[in-house]
C-alpha cells in the first residue's frame, strides 16, 4: 500500500479524483511499466538505491509524470520484492570491528605529524590487511544493512505491465482515502462480502433501505460521532479492494484536507479492478442447484439471492435467499450446510434478534447424526439435494 506522501490527486471542492492512468491517454505508460518490471526482474543483487535510480531514469524524459507517480511505482515494486537485509548482522559486526579498531587511533588525520601519528590511508590499509580483504570491499559491505544498500533477492512482481498499472490505479484510490472521514455506499448485491470486510476493517455501519434490494450503508469509526476524524482513513483504504470485488455499488467518501472538504466518488463500473477474488455467485453447489431448479418464479414466489439485509444495531444478517410473493409476502431463506451444535445455537440466537422477520432455515441432515436434538423443530432438513417442494410447502405457511 502507498502512504500519504505518494498520493496524487486533483482537488476540487465538489469532487476530488485520484490519479488514474487510462489506456488511451496514458498508452505510453504500458511501455514504461514494462521497463520498470524489466529493471526489477533483472535486478537481483542490485541495491535498492541502484534500482531506484534506474527506475527514476525510465521517466526522465516523460513529459507528463509527477514525482509522486514515479515514487508510487517504485513503492509498489519494492512492496513485492524481497531484499537481503543482512539479518545475521554481518555488516554491523564488520562496522563494530572497524570502528573499535579506529577508536584507539582517533582522529585519523590526513597528514600524520608528531601529535597525531595515525593517518587515514595507513589506518585503512592496516585494517584491510587484518581482515584480509581490500579496503574497497570492506567499505562497500560495511553499511550493507542500511535500507538504501539492501540488495534485491527475489522480485515477486506483477504478471505484466497492465497488472502493474491496474494496481497503481487502485493504490492511488486507496491513498486518497487516507483523507476520508466517512464512506457512503449504495449497494445492490454481494452484501455478505461487504459486511464481512467492513467488520474486519473495524468500521461501524448505519444501514438504510432506499428501495427494493437497494441499501445505503454509511461506514464510520467509533469516535467519528464525536469529531469528524481521518483516523479511520487507513481502514477505508484497506476496505477498498474488498469493495472493488463486489458488484452493483456506488461509493462516496467525504474527504477533509485540513478544513477544505471534498468528495471522492467511485462505482463498480469505474474500471478499477480489485486484486481480491470476486465474490462467488453462490456459496455452494447446493445453493446453485437449488436456485437453478427453482427458476425465476414458482407458484407466485420469486427467488432472489442475498437481496435483503436484516439489521439490529451493529448486528447484520444477510440471508442466502429471499422469496417474494406477488401478494407482498417476503420470506428470508437461510441454508446451513456445515454445522456444529454451537454454530447452530449461535445462528439461532442471531435469528432471534429478527423475530419480526419471517425466516426459513434449512439444515443439512448429514451433520445431524446423533445431534438431531440440536436442530430446532422449526427448521427444514435437507440431504444432498435441497428439494423445491418441501420449501414451497413451508413458504405457504408464511402467507397471510
Amino acid at each position: 500500500m502507498l502512504t500519504k506522501e505518494h498520493a496524487l490527486f486533483t482537488f476540487n471542492r465538489f469532487e476530488t479524483r485520484p490519479d488514474c492512468l487510462t489506456r488511451i491517454q496514458h498508452a505510453h505508460y504500458r511501455e514504461l511499466a514494462s521497463g520498470l518490471l524489466r529493471i526489477y526482474r533483472n535486478g537481483n543483487g542490485f541495491t535498492r538505491r541502484e534500482l531506484h535510480r534506474r527506475a527514476d531514469a525510465v521517466f526522465a524524459d516523460v513529459p507528463d509524470c509527477p514525482p509522486q507517480r514515479i515514487r508510487s511505482f517504485i513503492k509498489l515494486l519494492d512492496d513485492t520484492s524481497e531484499f537481503e537485509t543482512d539479518r545475521k548482522g554481518q555488516a554491523a559486526e564488520l562496522r563494530q570491528k572497524v570502528f573499535a579498531w579506529a577508536a584507539s587511533r582517533h582522529p585519523l588525520v590526513r597528514q600524520p605529524d608528531r601529535l597525531f601519528e595515525c593517518g587515514e590511508k595507513q589506518a585503512k590499509d592496516d585494517i584491510a590487511r587484518r581482515i584480509g580483504k581490500s579496503w574497497h570491499e570492506i567499505e562497500s559491505s560495511m553499511y550493507g544493512d542500511f535500507p538504501e544498500f539492501h540488495r534485491l533477492r527475489i522480485f515477486h512482481g506483477y504478471p505484466d505491465a497492465d497488472a502493474l498499472l491496474s494496481r497503481y490505479n487502485v493504490a492511488q484510490a486507496q491513498a486518497l482515502l487516507f483523507w476520508a472521514e466517512q464512506m457512503i455506499i449504495t449497494a445492490r448485491s454481494d452484501f455478505k462480502m461487504l459486511f464481512r470486510y467492513a467488520k474486519l476493517s473495524g468500521l461501524l455501519h448505519e444501514i438504510t433501505m432506499i428501495g427494493s434490494g437497494a441499501y445505503r450503508i454509511r461506514l464510520t469509526g467509533p469516535v467519528s460521532v464525536l469529531k469528524q476524524t481521518r483516523r479511520y482513513g487507513i481502514h477505508f483504504a484497506k476496505f477498498l479492494p474488498a469493495l472493488l470485488a463486489c458488484r452493483n455499488w456506488q461509493m462516496q467518501a467525504g474527504l477533509d484536507f485540513n478544513g477544505r472538504r471534498s468528495f471522492f466518488r467511485i462505482g463498480s463500473a469505474s474500471g478499477l479492478r480489485s486484486y481480491y477474488k470476486p465474490g462467488e455467485e453462490f456459496d455452494s453447489a447446493l445453493e446453485k442447484k437449488f436456485a437453478n431448479q427453482f427458476g425465476v418464479e414458482r407458484n407466485g414466489w420469486k427467488l432472489e439471492r442475498e437481496a435483503e439485509i436484516l439489521v439490529k444495531g451493529q448486528k447484520v444478517f444477510v440471508p442466502d435467499f429471499v422469496f417474494r410473493h406477488v401478494d407482498g409476502t417476503t420470506v428470508c431463506f437461510e441454508i446451513v450446510g456445515f454445522w456444529t451444535p454451537e454454530y447452530l445455537a449461535a445462528k439461532w440466537k442471531t435469528l432471534a434478534l429478527f423475530v419480526n422477520h419471517p425466516i426459513l432455515v434449512s439444515v443439512s441432515k448429514h451433520l445431524a447424526l446423533g445431534k438431531e436434538h440440536a436442530v430446532p423443530p422449526a427448521a427444514l432438513i435437507h440431504g444432498d439435494v435441497l428439494q423445491v417442494k418441501p420449501v414451497l410447502e413451508r413458504l405457504e405457511h408464511f402467507r397471510h
Binding site: 509527477p66 579506529a102 582517533h106 582522529p107 588525520v109 587515514e120 467509533p222
Partner: protein, 477 residues
Amino acid sequence: MIAEKERPLDHELTYDRGSLIVHATREHCPSPHFIWDARTGNWRAPAWRYPEVVRAMAETHGYRFKDCVLMETHFQWPSTQLHVLREDQRQALERWRAGDCRGLVVMPTGTGKTEVALTAMAECQTTTLIVSPIRDLMYQWQRRIQKALALDPGILGDGQREIRPVTVTTYDSAFIYMDQIGNRFGLVVFDEAHHLAGQNLRQAAELCAAPRRLGLTATLERPDGRHTVLLELVGPVVYRQEVSEARGRTLADYEIIRIPVRLTSREQQHYDAAAAIVRHFIAERRKENPRYTWQDACSDTARDPWARRALRAFRFKTLIEDRAEEKLRVLEDLFRLHAHDLMLVFAGSNAMALDISRRFLLPVLLHASRKEERHQLLEGFAAGKFRVLVANQVLDEGIDIPEVKAAVVVGGLASTRQAKQRLGRILRKTGDARAVLYEIACEETREKERSKQRRQNDAYSGTRRMRETTLRYRARN
C-alpha cells in the same frame, strides 16, 4: 440516605475504543459532553474529558452511575531510587500536583525534566504510560525506569507489543493503539509534548482516558500556533524556565562558534552549473509570467521534465553544500582540538553522515540503525569507548549523555527548534565544564542563510565566528 444508597445505580460509564459510553436511552443524556450515537444506540463522549465528565455527571446532574472506565490503576512501586530534586524541579512538581495532576512543565533540555516525571510517577502510585517521540528515547525511558524505579516497563513500539502497568511507547504507536489501551493507565506522561500538536498525533491524547497528565517540553511554542491544543489536552503550563535563566546555573554555560568554509573550486563549478540551470529555468518562466515562483516550479514538475531537471539541480546544490569537502577538513581540526573529549557530530543528510563515518571510521547512527546497535553505540559512547558519534536527525531530541560537552553541526535545517534541541544535547550540567557547539556552514550559499536564521533564536545569540585558519592554527599548535 440509606434508601438512596440501596437503589441500584442507573447506568454504567465505560470506555469504548477511544471514547466513553453510557448505555442509556435517548431521553437520558448523562451530561452535556455526550452525543447520542444512533449507530450503537448509546451516549458517547471524548475519552480525554473523562474527569470533567465524571464531575459533571455526579455533581451537576445528580446522575447515578457506576464508573467502569479505567481498569485497575493502583500500582505499588517495588522500590524507588530517585535523585533528590533541585529546588526548581521540586517547584515544577508541586505546581503540577496542585493543578490536579494535569499540565505542562516547560524547561530547557538538560535541566532534568525526566527526574521530575519519575518522581511524579513514584508519588502518584498509579499505572503509567510514557509517550516519547522516537524509539531511542523510548528505550532511554526504559533504562531510566529500570534504574530509578526498579521495574521492567512494557514496550509498545519498535515491533513489540507488551503492555504492563508501566509502559513506554512512541507517539506513532500511541496514535495507532491508543483506542485499544486508553483506559489502562492512571497517568500518562508526554515527553517532548510539542509533538502532540500534530493533527494525527494529538489523538494519542484525545483517545486516552488517563485522568492525570504530565507534558514535558523545552520548546512548547510552535510558529503555527497549534500548541494551544496542548493546553486543553494535557493541561495548562504549570511551570516554565527559560534557557537564559538556566544558563550556567541548572545548565552548563556554553558558547557557539561558527566556522565558515568555502566550496572547493570543483564543487563551486558544479554548484554554479546547478545554480545556472535553476536560474535559467526561472528566468525563462518569468518571461511568460513575471510572478513565477519556486513554488510554481515545484508544482510544474508534474507536467514538465524541465521543471523536474531544475528541481533536481536545486537538490544537487543543497547536497553540494551539505557534503562540502572542506567540512571534512575542518572536522579533522576540530577532532584534533578535542582529541580527548566526547563529541557529537550532527549531519544534514544520511549521505554526509556516512561520508564522515567513512572518512574518520567513526560510528554512525541513522534512522535505520537497529536496536542492538544503537544500544551498543550509545553505551560505548557514554563509556568513552568511542569519542565521537555521528548522526543525522536521530539524536536531535532527548538523548542524554551528560559527559558530552562538545558538538559539531555540519548541516541541517533553518529551524530554530532543531537548533535548540541540538544545542540541548550538550548542556547537561556536570561540574563547571563549559559546553561548546561548533557550526560549520558554507559561505556564499543558501546554507549561510539557514545558519543566520538559526541565530535569531535567543539561545543562539552571542554566536562567535572563528576563521578556519585560526582553528587550524589552534588545532595544530
